[in-house]
């Protein structure tokens, strides 16, 4: 653990790449010593901002206050009972049923995706978003929006979130692909909410659906239920 412990400083100043960050957060979840150290180092790093303080334009204040007036703060993260902490495998049949239910409750397919954010994205993501056969599945989640874009010809899928709530402290979002006869297969982690574009790992082309769950930092091998949302893919 000595090696991973040494990442605390780099973590405190956001100097880890995504993989290291996921590893370190997994470690953080079980190392009180590191959590305390990170808290102190973050407070220290925050002092650096004293040296660059710059008055923002007055118009920014108005925009910020106008923004928040239209959004409700999230409820506090209420401690979850034992029932929701228990993990169990989403059996293929149950998964299928859940996905059907998801369809029943209103999946909006093919929402044209605004092009305005594309310039800041990786080209692999762009390829999927601009693929001729891109399928789009949009779900509304408590004021946020998650869109799964899949290209069967590229065998790739991208999750695009808008205004997504950040995962609870110490937790991450985990993405899953649902494969017939196999069940939910881990397809990547998303450590943050907000506006994200995440390329899924695995084989979206043959998946029957996808899902998002909340998992402990570092992710899980099997989904914790209930899922945040599920997407049912069109079948060939």
């Amino acid at each position: 653990m000595i090696e991973i412990h040494a990442l605390s400083g780099a973590y405190a100043v956001d100097a880890l790449d995504d993989i290291e960050r996921a590893q370190f957060e997994r470690h953080l979840a079980e190392c009180a010593e590191c959590r305390a150290e990170v808290a102190g180092l973050r407070s220290t790093a925050a002092l650096l901002a004293e040296t660059t303080a710059t008055a923002p334009p007055e118009s920014l204040r108005e925009r910020v206050l106008a923004d928040i007036a239209t959004v409700r703060p999230l409820p506090p993260a209420v401690a979850t009972g034992a029932a929701t902490r228990r993990r169990f495998r989403l059996a293929p049949l149950a998964a299928a049923a859940a996905l059907v239910a998801a369809v029943g409750t209103g999946v909006v397919v093919t929402q044209p995706w605004a092009d305005d954010t594309s310039q800041t994205q990786l080209s692999a993501v762009d390829q999927v978003l601009q693929a001729d056969d891109a399928e789009r599945y949009t779900k509304a989640i408590d004021g946020s929006e998650a869109t799964m874009v899949r290209s069967r010809s590229l065998n790739k899928a991208v999750l695009v979130t808008k205004n997504m709530a950040p995962p609870p402290e110490g937790k991450v979002y985990e993405l899953w692909l649902d494969h017939e006869g196999i069940g939910m297969v881990p397809a990547g982690l998303m450590a943050q909410g907000g506006e994200q574009m995440i390329l899924l790992e695995g084989d979206p082309a043959t998946a029957t659906g996808a899902g998002i769950t909340v998992e402990p930092a570092g992710g899980s091998e099997e989904p914790t239920l209930p899922p945040v949302t599920l997407f049912a893919f069109e079948q060939a």
Binding site: A10, E37, E50, A55, L60, V64, I68, G194
Partner: protein, 202 residues
């Protein structure tokens, strides 16, 4: 990147007002209940640090304003989830801002291969723009003093990571350090700074 500049000799006097620092943790708590005026006070207390940090990291003022706007919206939405047992309110808030600013420079970089205008926009700018405007607060002076106690290598590593938004691996390469040593410099430097500044665990 240059080390943090010392306070310009003609620096403005510490900004007037705010004789007493508001309890940011309390303002966050009130914000979590939907209290917009508490949030406005929180904004007023933090805006200069938030904006200055965003400008320093993303370098482009227009983009920095976007980062600030997005960050405050996220802070508002998640204010009820701030847990004072896990760190200070300032640290919590600036962590959100810093993360967003760093995400923005990194994703902009990822697309720069086909966005040639990015390079023109992102040539290193003189730090004068922000440094001049930086408030010569007492706290800022203390921080500069503490920074001066670090080794050059520690200070450079921290500045490239925190203000430059580079990963420790990139920092190692930029400073010609063996891979894996930059993270140690960053940690050692922060610990030194923490102890110099007398920062508690939270």
């Amino acid at each position: 990147m240059e080390p943090i500049r010392p306070t310009p000799s003609g620096a403005p006097a510490p900004e007037a007002g705010a004789p007493e620092a508001p309890d940011l943790g309390q303002l966050l708590k009130l914000s979590g209940r939907g209290d917009e005026s508490a949030f406005a006070r929180l904004y007023d207390a933090m805006a200069a640090r938030v904006f200055g940090l965003a400008v320093r990291v993303v370098r482009d003022r227009a983009q920095a304003e976007e980062v600030v706007q997005e960050s405050f919206l996220e802070i508002w939405r998640t204010s009820g989830r701030f847990d004072p047992d896990r760190g200070s309110a300032v640290a919590w808030l600036l962590t959100i801002v810093h993360r967003r600013a760093v995400d923005r420079v990194r994703s902009a970089e990822a697309s720069s291969r086909r966005d040639t205008t990015y390079h023109d926009r992102n040539q290193p700018v003189a730090h004068d723009a922000t440094a001049e405007a930086a408030q010569a607060s007492l706290e800022a002076r203390r921080v500069r003093g503490a920074l001066a106690s670090l080794t050059d290598a520690q200070r450079q590593a921290i500045e490239l990571a925190y203000f430059g938004g580079y990963t420790h691996t990139e920092v190692a390469s930029m400073l010609d350090l063996p891979v894996g040593t930059a993270k140690t410099r960053i940690r050692d430097g922060l610990i030194r700074l923490r102890d110099e500044m007398g920062v508690g665990a939270s």
